[in-house]
Amino acid sequence: METTQLTVSPAPHIRARQSTAGIMWMVVTALLPAAAAGVVLFGRPALIVIISSILAAVLAEALCQWVMGRRITVGDGSAAVTGLLLALTLPPELPWWMTISGAAFAIIIGKQVFGGLGHNLFNPALAGRAFLLASWPTAMMTWKWPAGSLSWAGGSADAVAGATVLELARRGFFAQHGVQVPYSQLFMGNIAGSIGETSALALLLGAVFLLAFQVIDWRIPLGYLGALAVLAVLAGQNPVFHLLSGGVLIGAFFMATDYVTTPITPGGRFFFGLGCGVLTFLIRIYGGYPEGVTYAILLMNAAAPLLEKATIPKRFGEVRANV
């Protein structure tokens, strides 16, 4: 049978009125609560990181397209989204020049070198973050607790000041001292971490918005969060803690749902999320870093074409007899 497969779903097709720019600005809107929460929690330095990251990403895109002689498409908002997403995964007090380098790397190496929007293999924001983590690991792991958020630690507040809850859990601090970060604090995001990853409340608000308008596919976050929670339970760990700490929520709803770097088939998307969850858990428990969302999603990005190939749905009326 000789047919070129241009579509991956059975007919009939409906033409949607969505445009790239429309989707991008909806993502920005959905990220606003998380960005606002970051600025409220961590103050002016966080705002500086967010602004410099977005500006650098947009400028890098324009510059790169100009040098390469391509049409300049910063108006579609994709560079701004990359800049904003990157900023939300950075420590609040990262020096401005590191932020700018990371945003420029995300756009130039993570996206434009592959041919621009739609051609990149890896999530640009996460590529930028991985670059920063490899280049300046100390600055990228310097954390700060929001003012007045350490009351739960009692007398050992000094010992936890520079660490995220995941690092503390890894060290066995909670078991050793018999203390726990209250769930309400984890949920509100009043903890140390990246600017936009700490507040579960703000992220879920944005996620509900994107799900309601069907900008993102529910299968990916379901697979991601589900796999992580199930593995945590199986390993005898606290699943709620695993879901609320670190970058899982921003990763599951905003990073792993990127159109370009994830499979386009429904089944592929579910397995993509599943893989992200499994890898995140494995890196958290056995890896060298306390958090594994970045590498989990980047690794699954690399596997996306394979998942896509394995999960192409049957064409309407097709009988798979002679395959």
Partner: protein, 214 residues
């Protein structure tokens, strides 16, 4: 004589092993972290390349076709072992840094490739010039990468402890872009330089084509 120089220049520009043939990637990525390492690796490979090219060219009418590959390997391995021993005796620090990559010159595809493609079919003097050109082309390629990677990744330039060079500090400590001396930095730097050189070659060839047309 002009022909000899053409053979020599071919190794450096036209068929540069790293940037045009994209051969010998393993040592290229691994040893271009510092200028001193790149120079050490490049010169070691050049020595082996020149010597093996000359010997194989000399023996080209004696070596039977059926056993030529084992013969080439023995010749190459001999010179590699010589380099390994001499380097261990005279520059132990560099020898330790380059480590496994010196013995691995034996299986460097540039060397066996030149033996098979060039030295076995050409005169001794042409083979000598080919080995020299290819070796220097390899060395220059390594140097180009290391000149980018060392200052950015280590924050220092031209450090060579064996020879008492302290090097220059170009980026303040703890501010250097560590990624450039890590493996991803090797791939990214090589990719960007390759892209730049391809662009340059494309531009030059159109210019030359226009000139030729006049």
């Amino acid at each position: 004589m002009k022909d000899r120089w053409r053979v020599f220049a071919n190794g450096i520009f036209g068929e540069n092993p790293i940037f045009r043939l994209v051969l010998g990637m393993c040592p290229t990525l691994a040893t271009s972290t510092a200028v001193a390492n790149a120079l050490g690796m490049g010169l070691a490979a050049t020595f082996v390349l020149v010597c093996s090219n000359v010997i194989i060219s000399l023996l080209r009418n004696i070596i039977p076709d059926e056993v030529r590959i084992p013969c080439y390997i023995v010749v190459v391995a001999t010179f590699v072992t010589i380099v390994d021993k001499v380097m261990a005796a005279s520059a132990p620090g560099l020898h330790q840094v380059l480590g496994i990559f010196i013995p691995l010159i034996v299986v460097n595809c540039i060397i066996l490739g030149r033996a098979e493609a060039f030295a076995s079919k050409n005169s001794v003097s042409r083979s000598f010039m080919d080995g020299l050109g290819m070796g220097l082309g390899f060395t220059l390629g390594l140097l180009l990468l290391s000149i980018i990677r060392e200052p950015l990744g280590e924050g220092t330039f031209l450090v060579a402890e064996d020879f008492g060079f302290e090097g220059l500090r170009v980026i303040a400590e703890d501010k250097q872009v560590l990624m450039f001396i890590l493996p991803p930095g090797a791939f990214i730097t090589l990719g960007l330089v390759l892209a730049g050189i391809n662009k340059l070659v494309a531009k030059l060839s159109t210019v030359w084509a226009q000139k030729g047309g006049e």
